[in-house]
């Protein structure tokens, strides 16, 4: 059992949880994630380790409620316990000094982007952060990211905050203005797909962190597989980060929708049971 030490609501659908786990806090690196399972009937879901405090023996996760399991997690409070928590999983980000780096995060992709962007800044890069969401209320971690970014930009689809437009427009603006050495993107698969198309045109090395459906997270099941550079890769052990120009995003998008109907069944049952 792992205790929730602290909970902060970041927006209507997004919460930050600080959870006790000495082992993971000590050994995790930016870019890695954990798998959480809540109770006997719970499913195993992957969540990025947003931050960790090795001294206190805690890790931070940021969760957006999108369905049954993430909602359950969102509803936990300080003092509650999580029955199963395993990690750190996946390959750590290869952090290096390359020059100017754009960190582009969409929706809840901002949570896992946070530790990676921070690590790139600490490695001595010039960091330009762009956060994007459908509308103002969905922007998270604005202040946290601003703090260490050299330049900071917000884009919303409806123009309710920051600039109006898609994240690709923001990235293109910067590319046209100055030399960019690398782009890191994290968010909905469709967003990463279009970012990859754009940066390929400009020949800029781009990393995408993929959020495929997972079960075990240890390389045992193949649920998380994607095609990268024509080869099948397991996101949980080979990734989650890959060269975005090689990822078959269309295939990934389809695989993400594999359980659409079941997810809806489960979520409406959960919401009914909540009442």
């Amino acid at each position: 059992m792992y205790k929730v030490i602290e909970k902060t609501i970041l927006s209507e659908n997004v919460a930050k949880l600080i959870i006790e786990n000495k082992t993971i806090a000590k050994n995790r690196k930016p870019g890695q994630f954990v798998i959480i399972k809540m109770g006997e009937i719970g499913e195993r879901i992957p969540l990025t380790i947003a931050d960790a405090d090795p001294e206190k023996g805690t890790i931070t996760i940021i969760v957006q409620k999108v369905g049954t399991s993430s909602h359950k997690l969102f509803n936990l409070n300080a003092g509650d316990h999580i029955s199963d928590l395993v990690g750190p999983l996946g390959q750590p980000t290869e952090v290096e000094k390359v020059g100017t780096v754009i960190a582009a995060g969409g929706g809840v992709g901002v949570a896992p982007l946070y530790p990676i962007a921070k690590a790139f800044k600490e490695a001595g890069n010039k960091l330009i952060t762009i956060l994007a969401a459908r509308t103002k209320d969905l922007i998270i971690l604005e202040n946290e990211m601003k703090e260490f970014s050299d330049e900071f930009m917000i884009m919303t689809d409806d123009g309710s905050y920051g600039k109006k437009g898609l994240i690709t427009a923001g990235i293109e603006e910067i590319i046209n203005r100055e030399k960019v050495d690398m782009v890191i993107c994290l968010g909905p698969a469709i967003m990463m797909k279009f970012i990859a198309l754009l940066t390929r045109k400009h020949n800029i090395h781009t990393i995408a962190s993929l959020n495929t459906i997972m079960v075990d997270g240890t390389g045992m099941c193949g649920a998380c597989r994607v095609t990268v550079g024509g080869k099948t890769k397991f996101v949980c052990v080979d990734g989650p980060e890959f060269n975005a120009h090689e990822v078959d995003f269309d295939e990934m998008l389809k695989r993400l929708n594999a359980y659409k109907k079941e997810e809806e069944t489960s979520y409406s049952k959960y919401l009914k049971d909540l009442k």
């Binding site: 082992t23 045992m220 099948t232 997810e263």
Partner: protein, 492 residues
């Protein structure tokens, strides 16, 4: 491992055994027909996850036990990888002392209720039984093993093996499959302080995530683990050695010896076009969702599984058989099909499983191989292009090599495909332990006598050494490794 025939002879010479032997003439014993395992009805059981085999009644067990001739040189024992004293436990059943029978089993087998169910007995102990020489069906050793251990568990009078006083030597076991559990039990008896680290949230390895409830109810595995816990083995779940902490960190925590039983958990795919379409599963994923995550109870449980009318499973081993029978139970009533590239003789699955599958209405498409998967606009698989095969000359495995027949391709409509062609060794441990010797198949190199790896204080066994093998071979490795680890620490 060698059989201690002297000790066996002494046991056999006991008065009660002699009297029992004399009570019925051998001739009469051999006239008794082999017991038939009571089973749930095929067309009912293929709609639920209850255990297929119901187990023998006390009367049936005693009658079957009478068939065993209590041979002076019991050949059956040499067929059992852990050398169970087979006539010894069977004669206790004949005598009616079922609890004592269970104790005999536990002397050499930490998981008799599991082995009685899933051992390929027909190729092991039962194959070596003297009855085969008489052209008669062998004694039902597996059924009797299951009977005695079930009896013990059901009466709640489980005997916990004696444990020597702690010698304060800390041992870490990586993986809680049958090899790890057996090693842990043996070391614990000898006084070592054993901790098992398991990556998943439940203990048992393939026994809990792979083999389905209808063949091996999970409560049985749990009961065996409880016994080990009572003996003093410590269990740590959600801990991946090599990720949560490395070996060096465990050494810093005082662990002096290690056993790697991390299994062969990596699914293999065939690299056929379209294999990453939606609704194409590896059997590991399919079975893990259903067994470990209980997706068959969705939406009561949170993990979903796609339930479909037409399911094809690629492969001919136990894994494929378990997957296809699972698919049937999840409602594949318009076709639950095995697609296998060789013929039925070559199928590696246990005979009992193939037989059960057929009874349950599974279709077999043999000498057939998938060459392409075709998807719909949502990326879901809708057809398999298969090719017919014929058998050519034998290959290295001694089985005749299947060869494609050109121009024989045709399409099969399908909703779900499960790829069950086998698994590879889990690479994490070989990759993260510096300097450990690995074969080109990714298995760990061990001395076959001692199960010692190239690093003296690290032992290994089960599928990480053998590739995909069996429960009882994994357990045999665990026992052997414990014996030699003990020698290693005594001489150190």
């Amino acid at each position: 491992m060698s059989v201690d025939y002297e000790a066996l002879k002494k046991d056999r010479a006991q008065e009660w055994r002699e009297n029992l032997r004399k009570s019925i003439p051998a001739k009469e014993r051999t006239q008794v027909e082999r017991v038939k395992m009571p089973e749930n009805e095929p067309l009912k059981r293929n709609k639920n996850f209850n255990e297929v085999n119901k187990g023998l009644s006390e009367e049936q067990a005693i009658i079957e036990a009478k068939r065993c001739l209590d041979c002076p040189t019991p050949t059956c024992i040499s067929g059992c990888p852990v050398n169970i004293d087979i006539p010894g436990f069977i004669k206790q059943i004949e005598k009616g002392d079922f609890l004592e029978s269970a104790k005999v089993l536990k002397d050499t087998n930490a998981l008799p209720a599991v082995c009685g169910r899933v051992c390929p007995q027909e190729n092991q102990c039962e194959l070596q039984c003297i009855y085969n020489k008489m052209k008669k069906p062998s004694v039902a050793i597996g059924h009797l093993e299951r009977f005695a251990s079930d009896y013990e568990r059901n009466t709640g009078k489980i005997s916990i093996p004696e444990v020597l006083k702690s010698n304060n030597i800390k041992i870490a076991v990586i993986g809680s499959g049958p090899s790890g559990l057996t090693f842990a039990g043996e070391m614990c008896k000898l006084g070592y302080e054993v901790t098992i680290f398991e990556a998943l949230h439940e203990f048992g390895g393939v026994l809990v995530y792979g083999i389905p409830e209808f063949r091996l109810p999970k409560k049985i595995v749990r009961a065996e683990i409880n016994s080990l816990e009572k003996m003093g083995v410590k269990f740590v779940k959600n801990f991946i050695v090599g990720r949560s902490a490395g070996l060096d960190e465990l050494k810093d925590q005082g662990f002096q010896g290690f056993f790697v039983g991390s299994g062969a958990g990596l699914p293999r795919f065939m690299n056929v076009p379209g294999e990453n379409l939606v609704n194409i599963y590896s059997s590991n994923e399919y079975l893990t969702r259903v067994n470990l995550m209980k997706a068959y109870k969705f939406p009561e449980y949170d993990t979903p599984i796609i339930k479909a009318k037409r399911v094809a499973v690629i492969g001919g081993g136990n894994t494929a058989m378990d997957s296809v029978r699972t698919a049937k139970r999840l409602g594949a009533d318009r076709g639950a099909i095995i697609i296998y590239r060789r013929s039925e003789q070559e199928m590696p699955a246990r005979i009992e499983e193939v037989h059960h599958a057929k009874e349950e209405g599974i279709e077999f498409l043999i000498l057939t191989n998938p060459v392409e998967y075709i998807g719909d606009s949502e990326g879901k698989v809708k057809q398999i292009k298969v090719q017919k095969m014929e058998l050519g000359k034998p290959d290295e495995s001694g089985r005749r090599r299947p060869q494609p027949i050109p121009g024989s391709e045709y399409l099969i409509d399908i909703d779900i495909v499960v790829v069950g062609i086998g698994t590879s060794p889990n690479p994490l441990i070989p990759q993260t332990i510096k300097g450990i010797d690995v074969t080109r198949w990714g298995t760990l190199v061990v001395n076959e006598e001692t199960m010692q790896t190239s690093i003296p204080y690290i032992f290994a066994g089960g599928d990480i050494v053998r590739g995909g093998a069996t429960v009882i071979l994994a357990m045999g490795d665990g026992t052997k490794a414990a014996e030699s680890a003990h020698k290693y620490f005594i001489n150190k």
